[in-house]
């Protein structure tokens, strides 16, 4: 067995996993505060990437300005989505909420490419295309920066839950009614978590957009992100970090060895199996909180 090949797969897989974590972070933030599984996060990532591309590529603004505009725009977009769509769904069965986010996903997936053109757009962040070579191992620079940003964002999220606003969000994620009773505005907390998910979507959109181009295929990031979220636990930020690494590494190492034998597509199989096995053996994930149901 070629050890350098294995190391290369592992490192690139771990970095991809952290980038999946960027997408998963948004889902966790929203689920934590409101119990809504946001299956439109992939589409939000795509919209964020289009936004950055529009400002940077179309108007020719510097990337930093584009990022600022996108962060602001997606924060508002997230809050608006919560206000207009999800707030009406409080108390509805979970199937309605899931389908609403899937409906939003479809709407956005049609809207972005429909208005801006379906051809993939390149998002140039000025990252050198030459891989970093350590010994025999090739490391993609974009993955390296993406992984670093992923780890940074997860760290920021962890830190955020130690601030005053973050503590409020923690209380809201614990129990809506008792948060209300101590004077926390649950609506505002949930709206803020949607806004933050929008910001996470900008980070994910920029990194993935620069890796694979900006088009509708960014929405398919939802699937690995769901695997990360399920494995790590739907309401756990630590879980995003650990599960992101696991999903990324397994999703890179297993296809690396198995794909040549069966002819491709194993990455989705690994992702599916991770979701399935987690749900069968430990539904609430590694770090997630176990739900106790009463009749």
């Amino acid at each position: 067995m070629d050890i350098a090949f294995l190391i290369e797969l592992t490192i690139n897989g771990a970095l991809t996993g952290l980038m999946y974590g960027l997408v998963a972070l948004g889902i966790v933030l929203i689920y934590k505060s409101s119990g809504v599984p946001n299956l439109a996060q992939g589409a939000m990532v795509m919209i964020a990437a289009y936004l950055v591309w529009m400002v940077a590529g179309w108007l020719g603004a510097p990337v930093v300005v584009a990022l600022l505009v996108a962060v602001l725009g997606m924060f508002l977009f997230g809050m608006l989505t919560e206000r207009v769509l999800l707030r009406r769904m409080v108390g509805q069965p979970i199937i309605m909420v899931v389908m609403l986010t899937l409906g939003l996903e479809s709407l956005l997936r049609g809207l972005g490419p429909g208005l801006l053109g379906a051809a993939p757009k390149s998002l140039d962040l000025g990252i050198d295309m030459m891989p970093i070579i350590v010994g025999d191992v090739f490391i993609n620079r974009e993955y390296l920066i993406g992984g670093a940003i992923g780890a940074l964002m997860i760290g920021l999220a962890l830190f955020f839950f130690r601030t005053r606003l973050g503590t409020k969000l923690l209380a809201v994620s614990d129990d809506h009614v008792s948060s209300w009773s101590v004077g926390i505005s649950v609506e505002r907390a949930v709206a803020v978590s949607w806004g933050l998910a929008g910001v996470a979507a900008v980070a994910a959109g920029v990194m993935w957009g620069s890796v694979q181009g900006v088009d509708w295929s960014l929405t398919t990031l939802l699937f690995p992100a769901v695997a990360v979220v399920i494995l790590g636990g739907l309401d756990s930020i630590h879980g995003v970090l650990v599960a992101g690494l696991v999903v990324g590494i397994l999703g890179s190492v297993v296809p690396g060895y198995v794909d040549p034998l069966v002819g491709g597509g194993t990455r989705d199989v690994v992702t599916s199996l991770i979701i399935l096995l987690t749900i069968l053996f430990r539904p609430h994930g590694i770090f997630g909180r176990e739900e106790i149901e009463r009749v």
Partner: protein, 357 residues
Amino acid sequence: MFYRQSGIHHTRYAATRKLWPLAADRRLLGGLLALALLAPLLLPELYLNSYLAPWLIWTAAALSLTLLMGIAGQLHFGFAAVMAIGAYTSIHLARAGVPFELALVGAGLAAALIGCVFGAAALRVKGLYLVMATLAMQYLVSWVIINVPAISGGAQATLATPEVRLLFIPLDGDTALYYTALGWTLSCTLLLLNIKRSSVGRALVAVRDKDFAAAVIGVDPLRYKLLAFFTSSFLGGVSGAILAFCYYQAVTPEQFGFNVSIQLVAMVLVGGLGSVIGAYLGAGFILLLPIVLTNLLAWVAGLELFPVSFNLIAHIPLMVYGALIIAVILFEPLGLAKIYDNIRKYFLVWPFRHAQR
């Protein structure tokens, strides 16, 4: 039309337990059935095989799914995979020379057996986790179908359906295919209508509403959940086979992808969870409205009042369909079936609007 409940006094329980206690409903249904039977004479072939037949077959699929999601309350986001199993089984059986009737049963059984494996997840988790588990299984089944050449005939292959006969009538013309689809959809409809008022149906509803509570009153949730998965997957498998034989007349893995699963759930939800008429309305709505809107937009673009790019037209169905789902869930969570029900109730006592029962 005039005061349709007038003069109806049920004096026996058997009369109130009829499927359609009101004579007006029976007449309406009789008329619709006659129209459906006469459709090959009334409609041009294009409408028959590109609108009416797929609508009927998708209705059958939506009915199978609504049995599971609406009546038994088990969420399933991988139903297209179940239909794919049915379609591929029937095609391979028919190609091996098995009579079509048996191939359909085989398709149903294969789908039901694998569908029960989907159900195994349901015995352990529910709600959101069940959504994710069935979604993962959708990917797994698609991958197996694509990557095992014995099933799909090689990557990116299309298997054409062979010539078959159903009850000694060769299925070759549009009319024969249409009647096959109609027959299957009507069977599903009758089955569902009757399941809903049988003891099995009530047990399924009890499991849906709260499985622990159902266990307390002596309904075994495990048994009824598996039963729901088995029955619904059987119907779904046969619907998949009918879809392959009567509409596509060929089968490729893309016909049964993840998007199709979502589309099926959308049909059930837009129509109204657990409602039979809702399956008809939902399937029609999700299937036909994007087509109508695309045509409308193409016509508007043809007027050249303002520029409409082909790219936009290509993405309209996706947007409409997303917006539709959102609109229905926000404004009428009980779906089109509820809208129909409201209209029907209004006209039941019309013109005496205060005489509501």
